[in-house]
């Protein structure tokens, strides 16, 4: 019997992905940094480091701390700013045969709108609107914890771009489904979740905090159960596609997120351990499909059985 052809392709709004695994914002640079480790053309999408209207130096002091099964970061959105991104970086990465999703952050609704307008250009395939960076005021977290503000940002961005608009949600809220519904109603094409969880770490010998910024964002395998739960809750609440992330290290983790209701996933901190993790996760999904006789991702997305 002829082997059935497995397709890992999936659509998120107007975005067509060859496979559902992307490199998460802030952990994938601008994609180029991974050229020694994988074929960037073969991954689902590149999500850029968060871009802000003006260049940012980021937070002072130690920015990285290790935690059990994960890490804290307090980078504070260091980035070259919108103009340099458009003039110098985008021309160098738009040739990849994979979508470029630009992650944007700002301090005001107007600035989000301005960025959306400026990025409505060739080479940008979608915007991921970060309303959830826990490390800086300008990271949009004020918008990410209040449904009305989140909706306002979403509307403003949607009104200034023809690109697919993905709103990235914060886990640092009481009910993430409420936030997801608010941005869906405001016109978001998709949501991505989760951004990092606010945390801290202390050196008991020196009796000092480990991070220069005191608190930081927790990510890595330690947060996976939280992220998975949130993806599942949001999948029950909205109809738009979900991009799931938080602690994904391999294909099996990715399949869990797909089963919970994500249409695509992103690998974040685990790229630091295995710089080919995005490729390995996609291969792992394919292997899972093959061994379970599944040809199309739609047969897995949201198909977790709930016993009761």
């Amino acid at each position: 019997m002829e082997k059935k052809k497995i397709s890992l392709a999936v659509d998120i709004g107007k975005l067509h992905l060859k496979n559902p695994v992307m490199g998460a914002s802030g952990t994938f640079g601008f994609g180029r940094e991974y050229e020694d480790f994988l074929d960037v053309n073969e991954i689902g999408a590149i999500v850029t480091k968060g871009i802000t209207p003006l260049p940012r130096a980021g937070n002072p002091g130690v920015r990285i701390a290790e935690t059990p099964s994960g890490m804290l970061n307090s980078i504070g959105l260091e980035n070259p700013g919108l103009d340099v991104f458009i003039k110098e970086i985008l021309p160098e990465i738009k040739h990849y045969d994979t979508p470029v999703i630009v992650n944007i952050s700002a301090g005001t609704v107007e600035d989000y709108a301005k960025m959306a307008y400026a990025l409505d250009i060739d080479g940008v395939d979608a915007l991921e609107v970060n309303i959830s960076c826990p490390n800086v005021k300008e990271g949009g977290i004020v918008f990410g914890t209040d449904p009305k503000s989140a909706a306002a940002v979403t509307k403003a961005v949607k009104g200034h771009t023809k690109k697919t608009v993905i709103v990235k949600l914060s886990p640092n809220v009481t009910d993430i489904a409420v936030m997801a519904k608010a941005v869906e109603n405001a016109g978001a094409d998709a949501v991505s979740l989760i951004n990092t969880l606010t945390g801290m770490a202390i050196d008991i010998n020196k009796r000092t905090v480990l991070l220069g910024n005191v608190t930081g964002g927790l990510s890595g395998p330690a947060v996976k159960p939280v992220a998975l739960r949130m993806v599942w809750q949001v999948a029950q609440a909205v109809k738009i596609p979900i991009i799931g992330m938080g602690g994904i290290a391999n294909g099996e983790d990715a399949v869990e997120f797909l089963l919970a209701g994500a249409s695509a996933v992103a690998v974040g901190a685990y790229n630091f351990i295995d710089p080919a993790a995005v490729k390995h996760a996609a291969d792992g999904i394919e292997a899972y499909m093959e061994s379970n006789g599944i040809c199309n991702l739609l047969e897995i997305i949201g198909k977790v059985k709930v016993q009761g």
Binding site: G26, T27, F28, E33, Y34, G58, G70, F272, I273, P275
Partner: protein, 254 residues
């Protein structure tokens, strides 16, 4: 420069001084590519620590295909490394970063503490020029590095904070005398920031070129997380220690 991610087999892992270890790992591609001043980002597969650990390349044997690292037990990660034995596997991303630029003039190598590790490989690469080596340590137990350096030069000077060996004081105490006494063109240094700052200042006063090797907390080691950046003084740009360094011209840092 191409980076690899691979698994190397530990050939040898032994204590060379109190709490300090040398590990040789079979990894021919890395041995072939590694330059002095570059580092490896390593992890014991399935080890307890989540992040990799940055460790300088301390020596290379291309004929055996091995690369050596020297590390001091500091916390969880290095404790775990110290328990590894021949035949165990070590996951490596590397070689990473820009190492020392080997200049044409008479070299002077200055190291303090674990900063000596990458300087051993540097001395090997500069051995035809008979580098002058200045080693600083807190006491006589911390200057065992002479054993390794004497393969590459016989001009070794030592300072200790407590005077238990060599000249009492810091490397910066002796450096001006060395510069007056010897012909020196280029200074290469690795050690605590405060030491390198002092060395850089003296180098500047005497008109010598000076390269410094920095240490920062790292997560990715490949230039994507921005955990390791600092504001470059001369360039005015933010610099990544992992991929643009760890070695920089002193003027860019201090």
């Amino acid at each position: 420069m191409k980076k690899f991610v691979l698994t190397g087999q530990v050939v040898n892992n032994k204590q060379i001084s109190n709490g300090i270890y040398h590990m040789a790992v079979h990894a021919p591609q890395i041995a072939e590519a590694a330059q002095p001043g570059q580092f490896l980002h390593v992890k014991k597969p399935d080890g307890a620590n989540f992040l990799r650990r940055p460790l300088g390349v301390a020596d290379v044997d291309k004929s055996q295909g091995t690369v050596g690292i020297m590390y001091r037990i500091l916390g969880k990660g290095t404790t775990e490394f110290s328990r590894m034995a021949a035949g165990d596997e070590l996951s490596i991303v590397g070689p990473i970063g820009n190492g020392f630029v080997l200049k044409d003039g008479q070299p002077l190598i200055v190291g303090g503490g674990m900063g000596m590790a990458p300087l051993i490989y540097l001395a090997d690469m500069l051995k035809d020029k008979k580098p002058i080596v200045l080693i600083g340590g807190r006491n006589k137990d911390e200057i065992f590095w002479q054993e390794y350096m004497k393969k590459f030069t016989d001009r070794i000077y030592v300072t200790t904070d407590d005077g238990s060996a060599g000249v009492k004081g810091f490397t910066t105490t002796l450096l001006p005398q060395l510069l007056q006494k010897n012909v020196v063109d280029d200074i290469y240094t690795c050690g605590p920031d405060i030491m390198m700052r002092g060395i850089a200042k003296i180098a500047y006063e005497y008109g010598k070129t000076c390269q410094v090797s920095l240490e920062k907390r790292m997560a990715c080691g490949i230039g994507v997380c921005l955990g390791c950046t600092f504001p470059g003084k001369q360039s005015g740009r933010r610099r990544k220690v992992c991929t643009e360094g760890p070695v920089f011209p002193a003027e860019e840092v201090f």
